[in-house]
């Protein structure tokens, strides 16, 4: 447990020392989502309709921007070898890195979403649903993304390959995440969507750390 906190602390400290990389992803999210209302114009009904899809797609893409950093820096300077050789189980350390990635790249999206949502004329209820789905969905994005980040370690042009590998895996999260907001706006029950997102999160939490750990070990060898 101490090691888990130590690795999260370490990764957050590193992010604080080099803020630009993280801020880029956040600005990307804000800018992309702001372009739609500007481009489409003041058609409030249309904006409300496309809001869930736009916000979710922007969230996927901005998560993707920060993904390759998850292991690449540690791989290049040799720290990843030291993590593998630490007495702590590697899966624990990998989980810590995923959590740190979510705190930096996922959590801010959850907090920013309601402000962005106002641009799309979403009502308070839809904003809550949007935040809820992002809160459940973004950890899944970080988890699934870690597999791609670990598999593309040391590969030239890895970040393009990473997008191709990982984006298809994000589709279920996109469908249920955006679907919940849409369902709420037309007055349908959203509990099904939330249950499915929760199930995806639990499944990913249970299996992904092991898969990413195996991929890191392969990359080190």
């Amino acid at each position: 447990m101490k090691a888990l906190l130590a690795i999260i602390h370490r990764d957050l400290l590193l992010v604080m020392r080099r803020k630009s990389e993280v801020l880029t992803a956040l600005f990307f999210f804000v800018v992309v989502t702001s372009l739609f209302p500007l481009g489409i114009g003041a058609d409030a009904a249309l904006l409300r309709k496309i809001a869930p899809g736009v916000l979710w797609v922007a969230a996927l893409l901005s998560t993707l921007l920060g993904l390759h950093r998850m292991f690449a820096a540690d791989y290049q300077d040799g720290s990843l070898e030291q993590l593998v050789l630490s007495p702590q189980p590697l899966a624990l350390l990998v989980t810590g890195k995923i959590i740190a990635h979510w705190i930096v790249c996922g959590l801010p999206l959850v907090l920013l979403a309601p402000i962005i949502g106002i641009q799309f004329d979403l009502d308070a209820g839809s904003l809550y649903v949007l935040m809820g789905t992002l809160l459940l969905g973004t950890p899944v994005l970080s988890l699934l993304g870690s597999i791609g980040a670990a598999l593309t370690l040391g590969v030239r042009g890895g970040s393009v390959l990473l997008s191709l590998l990982i984006l298809p895996l994000f589709i279920p999260v996109l469908i249920f995440g955006a679907g919940a907001v849409y369902a709420h706006s037309v007055g349908l029950d959203t509990s099904g969507h939330f249950s499915l997102l929760g199930a995806l999160l639990i499944l990913a939490l249970a299996f992904v750390p092991w898969v990413s750990t195996a991929a890191v070990k392969i990359a080190i060898e």
Binding site: R10, D77, I220
Partner: protein, 201 residues
């Protein structure tokens, strides 16, 4: 005791070595020598368990290193040719974070005195990116001192060090060996260490 039996290492198409046996017991130092590309680093990585041998096995205290990985890692310190320091963090933070990950209790005074011993007084709060290559190696020497590992596996530890630092590192290794530690190192320089055996690949 570290023991390797009938090790063979294959890199791509090339067979680097095979049938390699070695033992290093407590209080001994093994100096691995050989030309560039002969497989020194590969051998060291095999001994740490980072890569798996084609054939053969590696034993630590009579047990295969893959059996009780956590115990083996607790007693192992591996320093590769990359320094594994975080450039954006200070020397002190690097030491402390590694201590936390390695599950070693390291009070601030101990970390600071380790850094001071290797001539980093006044530089402990500078980001590592501001340090020279030799100073980074000195931070690693401070890590060796504070890590409390029994087995040190060092890949080219004398690189980038000035004359004084080479002497300081030799003293550090000699001290470790004297207290019953084990050291496996590669170096192209002649090293003057007690209880040193040479393995020519």
């Amino acid at each position: 005791m570290l023991e390797a039996r009938a090790l063979a290492c294959v890199r791509g198409e090339r067979r680097l070595f095979e049938g390699l046996n070695l033992t290093v017991s407590s209080g001994e130092c093994l100096h691995v020598r050989g030309e560039n590309g002969v497989g020194k680093t590969s051998l060291l990585r095999l001994l740490t368990g980072l890569s798996k041998p084609e054939t053969g096995e590696i034993l630590w205290g009579g047990l295969s290193i893959n059996k009780d990985v956590s115990t083996f890692h607790r007693e192992l310190l591996f320093l590769g040719h990359r320094d594994a320091l975080k450039e954006d963090l200070t020397a002190l933070e690097n030491l402390q974070l590694y201590a936390a990950l390695d599950d070693v209790h390291l009070p601030d005074e101990k970390a600071l005195s380790a850094l001071w011993r290797f001539g980093l007084r006044g530089r402990e709060h500078l980001p590592v990116s501001c340090l020279s290559a030799g100073q980074k190696r000195r931070v690693l020497m401070a890590r060796m001192l504070t890590r409390q590992a029994k087995l040190w596996i060092l890949d080219e530890p004398f690189n980038a060090l000035d004359v004084h630092a080479v002497q300081a590192l030799q003293d550090l290794i000699a001290e470790h060996v004297e207290f019953g530690g084990l050291v496996v190192l590669t170096s192209h320089q002649e090293v003057t260490l007690p209880n040193v055996r040479v393995l020519d690949l």
